[in-house]
Every structure is written in C-alpha cells, then in structure tokens.
Symmetry: C4
Subunit: 235 residues, 4 copies
C-alpha cells in the first residue's frame, strides 16, 4: 500500500467501505442468492478498482475482505484481502473500467426476472415511465459469452456504448449494470429487476401500451438533469 | 415558522412525524424500491401540506427532513428541510389538495402489480369482496401524463372525482391514492397493490366470477360505516 | 370475569395469549396486509372463544386487547378488551364454534393465491403430496356469501362437514380454516396458501399429473396418525 | 455417547451444530413453511448422520435437539434428542447415505417453484449459465414414491447416480438435494429453487434459447474446479 499517494490510499479506504456496504443492498432487494452477484467500484484518480472476493458469504463482507485490482484484473499484491481470489467476474469488470472511462461502478447479478428475459434473449420494451426516467428506453440484450476470456466484458461494452441504458441483459446469463459510481450501478441493478418484473407481469395479462418516443426523451432528460438533490450522482 | 398560529405549528409537527413514519409502511409492504414513492399529508386548518424530499434514502426520512409546501407546491421558505427539493411529484400532490378539499393525504408508488395494470391501461375489475369493501368497485385508469405541468394532478382529480375508488392507475405510470389522512391514503396504496396482485393471478388461470352490483354496494356501504373502532379514519 | 370458574379463567388467559401471538404468524407468512385477517380460539370447557378486535394494527395485538365472546358472537361485558368491537367476521367464527364442536380454532385471511382461486370459484386439485398429507384431497369452494347474517358461517360449516379438508375457499372472498386449536387452524391457513401458490404455478406451465386416490388416502392417514412428536395437536 | 471415539464424538458435536444452523438458511431463502423441510449431515469417519426432529418449529432447532441416526435410519439410543422422533423423511436420507458414500449432506424441501415442476413431472432445462455452473445440465425428475418403504430413497439414488445434478425433483412431491456436506446440499436446495423460478418465468413469456452443450460442459467444469476460495467444499 505504501506505493499509493495519500489521496489514492484514502480513496481506496472509501471505495472498500462503499463496495462492502453496497452488497447489502443486493440482499435487501432480493437480487442475489447464496454468494452470487458482485459489486465493484473504481478508485478515483487511480487505475484501480475494488471488488468482492469469490464465493464468500454475504454475512462476511467487511471492507478489509474486499479485493483491490488493477485495470487488467490483477490483484494488487500485498493489499488487504489479496490472499483471497477476487470474484470470478473480475475480468469482465476490468474490461469495462479499461474501456469506459466514465464508468465508476459495475454490478452483476442473476436477479430472477431480468435473467428470465436474458434466457429468451429479449430486450425489455420501455412501457413504464419509471423505465424512461431511469434507462431512457429499452434494456438491450448482449451476446452469449462465457467466462474464460474477454468476451463478457467486450459484450457489455459493445452493447452499452452509445446506449442510454446503464443495464445490459447478457444472453442466457443475467444483467450487468454500470454507473457513475458503485452506488449508481447498484441502483441500476435494483431498477432493472424492478422493470423486468413489472413489464413481465404487464405483458402476461395482455397488450401493453407503448410510450411515445418524445415522451420517453422528455422523461429521460428531466430525470438525468433535475431529479434528486442536485448532487453529482444520479439517483 | 413564526408566522403560523400555535395550533397550525403544532399540526405541522404532527403531520411531519406522521408522513415521515408512513414511508416505512411503503417499505414494509414492498411497494417501493430505492428512493421511489412518496407520501404527503395536509396540515389541518392551513393551506399547507408536508411531503417527502426528492431522491433521499428511506433510511434517512426523519420528520425534520420532510418538506412543508403551500397548495401551489412551493416550499415554505425557512421551514425545516426547505434547503432540499421536495419530491418531483409535488405538483401533482398540490393539485389534488387544491381541488379536492376533503382529501387529507396523497400517496404515489410504482408498486409492481398495480403498475403492470397501468402499463396496459386496464382497470382492475371488482371480483373480490375485500375490493368491494375498500374501493366500492373497479380501480379506474387515469390518462397518460408526464411531469412538467398540471397534467398528472388534473388526471388524478378528473378520474377520482365522483368515483368511489380512492386509487387511480395513471396510464404507463403507476398508482396514486388519496385518503382522509396520509395514513388512509397509505392504506389505499397497500390495498390497491394487494387487489392488483390477487386479480392478476385470478385471471391468469381462468375466468373470474363477477360480484353482483348490489352485493358490491352493500359491502362498500357497510365497510365505510361499520368497520373498525368507530374513529374518524377509515381503516 | 368473576363469574368464571378458576379453570375457565386460567384457560381464557392462555387462549388470549395464544390468539394474540398467532397473529404474528399471519404476518410472518405474508398472509395478511394492514389489519386484515383474524384468528380465534375456543376456550376449553366453556361456551366462549377469543378473537381479534376489528381494524386494529398487527403491531398492537397484545393479549389484553383480544376480545372474549360467547358462542353467539356477543362480547362478554366487562371482560378485558370489551370496550372495542370484535373482528367483523366474529359472527362467522361463532357459527362455526356453535355447529362444529370438535373445532378449537378458526382463521380467516385474504391470502393472495388462495383468494385468486376463490375469485374463480375453483377448487384446488390435490396434485402434490404435501397437500395429500395436510388436507387429504382437494380444497373445496364454499358459496358466495356476504357479511350481515349467518350465511358465511353456514357456508363454511356446510362445506367442511364430512370433508377431510380443514380449509374452504369462500367464493370471491378468501380462505377460512379450522383446526383442533387456534395454532392448528393457523397452520392450515399457512398450508392452504402454500398449496394454492404451488398448484397455481404448476398448472400455469402445463398439465399436472394427478396423484392416485389410494396414495392420497395412504398419505393422509399416515400424516394424521404418525407425523410429529405424538402430541394431541396435528402439526 | 461413550461408545464413540473422541474424534467421532467431536465430529458429532460439529455436525449437530452445522445441521441445526443450516435450517435457518431454508427459512432465509423462503424454501419452507411451518415445520416442513429437513437437512441432514453425515458424521465423517462413522456410519452415522444427524437430522432434524419431526414436526418441530424452526424457532426451536438447537444443536441438542438434532437427532443422531445410524445408516439404517435408527435413532442412536441415549444420544441427545433421542427422546424425539426424527424427521419423517429419515429413511430416505439414510438410504442415500448407505448407497452414495461420497454424499455428506442431504436436504429436502417443498420449495414452491421446484415443486411446481415436480407436479408436472417435468425436468428443468438448462437455459441459464448459473444452472450450467451449478448443476451441469437439466434438473432431472425422479419417480412418484410415497413414504413407507425405501422407494423415495431408491428413487433419489437411481436418478442421481451418474448424473451431474445434485438435485432431483421427486414427482408430485418436491426437490431432494445432495452435496459433499450438509452446507453444499443446502446450497443446491437454494439454487434449484432459484433456477426453477427463473426458468419458469423465462418460458412463461416465450421461447427460451438453449445453451450449446459444449458451453454447458465448459461452465460446469470451470465452476467445479476453479470457483471460490479453493476449499474442499463447492460453493
């Protein structure tokens, strides 16, 4: 840790705490079971991010157990937690941080409704205003890709680049979300499951009514610029 | 605050506490995610109401964070919480209080099943006795309207005026409920999701049996006049 | 209270505590919302039962708030809680106790899946072994009946007399369950929602496989006579 | 207890504590209602296993209430808890331990979605990567069998022998899962309900996309050998 400037070292402490704490939100909203799911957060001002260890119980997620990685996904030797393996999705998170510099947080879950859409490879149409607010349109589907190389990370980046949505449904797999911070990405993970659930139910009972594109545009614009308490973070 | 009479000032304190506390009921019944949803309550004896701040975590909703507004939806300058923005739905709440003097509370959520009916623009038919008790008939659908002017508030008022139901499903958006008090409106929000859920499931598996109109009338009449412990508030 | 023998007075204290506590099980299993639902228990050795007050929050259900009634459903004057009104379903509970002497407890809820079957007036077929164990066959439907006379109680008694099931789905209304004790009736309320949920889902995705009648008989017989720790109460 | 070596006695204490504690996971993940469901764990180095007592509340499951059995399913006389009856599924657990020496834990639930598939006698197709990871293919269906002889245990063993899946859906009954330890079998019970839920929803809304067999093989292989922190236990 000695090789980091005082500012970076302080940021690492902060991001560790934030990432550790945010895993509780995945539990609170029922987005994960057992040790599934992972949250990571970029360390501001450094080519580093913090991610959950692999296969560890959500009851054991203390800040010092979080794992510090460089943007190639390698664990920073000697840092707290470095004796453990990072999440098996670390390579995908790293790929996103390397290729999307505005992204401050990444989340992956197998949340039930979003994963059901992913198993059909079907994008979620934008038929409720909360979805227009939050995602500005449909939730897109990413390619089928399995762990082992960069294909998951590349699929996320290619799908979300130039797209309003901060969520992608990786086919047969589940949602990945990005955000300006780890908290913003967790919010997107919560919201994508919420809209996946609502739109599933809506369609199950009959035809849904589309929202006109200009209303979607107007809602998205307002929400990104006006909603909340004027902080940097979308919420 | 000095400009209010002692009675009004005491009422404000009471309504702030009530509105803050009632947000926990939205969480308890799973009606909201993240910072979504809002509860407001009219201050008895004054042209004022109290509402949730915009985009603030449900873990941070203390009485002093609630925001005091006049019936045009303007924040009362200098009152506690006035440094924050009120809920982005404040204009809709204000419109309801201005135009429906008997309304003491307004609630808005994106609860899952009610919003699914709203995405189809379909009213919920009255096929269970609990729904006849509570709403006296079907739950109506209001127009499509987006934030920015009075159209949401107007849609709520036009739909619910002269209707037994205290709940309206705003199209592609979600439920708004009214009540004699904030608590009564929260009850309506809980019950509209409950009936939206039950009737969704009932229809999903086959044909539902209508309830004869005179039985609906009789149930509604009894429930409004006999049920509970004889307090002013419906419950 | 002075008019009761010491034994009966002690039983009343016990049943008050049991009935008060059992309401928490309705909450735990998500069978009720707001103040809906009610549990009652017969006082052994007396023509009395204890039931929940009407329209009171589940957070306020202490033993001394429970209401003591005679078998005509009249509140016992001067007993603790008698200043409140009993549950609006008291007449139905009383009718069951008057006409089914082996019944020690009655429960009513509007639990979601069971009420969905009730809205279609459709009995739940016995296609899972847990249902054969617990109910010995299908869950029957009772008539449409509204509050105001004996018709709900009569519908319950006529449907369940001579039937293995301890649960009846009152049409367009919801489940009523009976048991050897209040706890046994609560168990039946929990189990009827559980089987209503499972069989709903099973049928939604295709054809269910019937269980042969002799297997149902054998499961029901074993469960009533062998399962558990050999106490009087079915569990 | 005196007849056991010190090592075995220590293992029994450990397995009692583990089995008692793991029942809370069934509650946490909503896999059971009332007293349903059971977890057992083999005692390493002895022909013994520990199982839940029959019909006892999940609030009362302390280590000393767990029941020690031999591999024929007989309670070990004089051991703590031996005054109670073991779970009514003890014979099935015993059969599995006798016939599958690598199995260290067995779990049975009536979890809702898995039981719904079982009521149709339909295997769950492998259409999500988490399922390929965990089960290496579809979840198979076992025969219809009722309590009273070895037929449930035999059905489990015959179905799972030579199969990658650690879960079997016993027809019209519900899931049984096995694992290298009681915890591993509980994980399988949690995951089988999770995939039963997700695949149910996925199919409900349209056609699901199959995963190519070689991708399933690759995911299963990696997960069994790489995932987690390199302990003996799969997680």
């Amino acid at each position: 840790m000695n090789s980091f400037s005082r500012d970076v070292a302080a940021s690492i402490v902060e991001v560790r705490a934030e990432v550790a704490e945010l895993h509780a939100e995945l539990v609170r909203y029922g987005l994960i079971v057992w040790t599934g799911g992972n949250v990571s957060g970029r360390v501001p001002g450094a080519d580093l991010f913090v991610i959950k260890p692999s296969g560890v119980s959500y009851d054991d997620l203390a800040p010092e157990n979080m794992i510090l990685c460089d943007l190639d996904g390698n664990v920073v030797a000697g840092s707290p937690g470095s004796e453990r393996s990072p999440s098996s999705d670390t390579a995908a998170h790293a790929y996103v941080y390397r290729n999307m510099p505005h992204v401050g947080g990444v989340v992956h879950t197998h949340s039930t409704y979003a994963t059901a859409w992913a198993a059909r490879g079907e994008e979620i149409p934008c038929v409720i205003t909360a979805m227009a607010d939050e995602f500005g349109g449909p939730i897109p589907v990413g390619p089928f890709a399995i762990i082992g190389d960069d294909s998951i990370g590349r699929g996320i980046v290619e799908t979300l680049t130039g797209h309003r949505s901060r969520a992608v449904l990786m086919r047969n797999h589940g949602p990945f979300t990005i955000g300006t911070s780890a908290k913003d990405a967790v919010k997107a993970a919560v919201m994508v499951e919420d809209v996946a659930h609502t739109v599933h139910l809506a369609r199950e009972a009959g035809g849904v009514i589309p929202i006109p594109q200009e209303a979607i545009d107007s809602l998205f614009d307002r929400y990104q610029n006006v909603y909340g308490q004027g902080t940097d973070e979308r919420r």
